[in-house]
Symmetry: C2
Subunit: 97 residues, 2 copies
């Protein structure tokens, strides 16, 4: 990954917070809301963007007649996160020469 190819997923605090939360395992909407302290509207919009970009997968189902939304990181998302960190590490390494 090059600096000019950073995915949009890593370009706002909220999207990065969502990805970070999902790195450790899948979370439902309520959990993500609590972690990120975002509004329903904003969180929903960012989740949709991350899904469209292929970083996360969203599963909607009914549990006891109530809608439940569960989000999980995809392999692609995980790989991109790792590449992003590796790129930053490389930049930092260059600075220390």
């Amino acid at each position: 990954m090059e600096i000019n190819a950073i995915p949009e997923a890593f370009q706002t605090k909220l999207r990065l917070a969502i990805l970070s939360a999902l790195l450790t395992g899948e979370k439902n909407f309520k959990e993500l809301k609590k972690i990120t302290e975002a509004t329903d509207g904003n969180l929903g919009a960012q989740l949709k963007k991350l899904e469209e970009a292929g970083h996360i997968a969203i599963r909607k189902e009914f549990v006891n007649n109530k809608p439940k939304t569960t989000c999980a990181m995809t392999d692609f998302g995980r790989r991109q996160f790792r590449e992003y960190v590796e790129m930053l590490e490389r930049l930092l390494g260059q600075a220390e020469i």
Copy 2:
């Protein structure tokens, strides 16, 4: 650094590209323009934001009667960059447990 405390400096591709370029040493405006491929207006605006946040220092001088703008990362900026990378490494590490 916590995910909710990521500085704005690391939240857009252009600002991150500027910081990355400066990590390896000071650069003038022309050099940064070439590296980032940003417009004069946008580059100038983002440099100002990074200066206001204390991440970079901007020096303006006249060389052969022409204005020259040189940008350098501050110790604070360098420290914040390192903390940002360390936070991401930590998140990635948690995911791999």
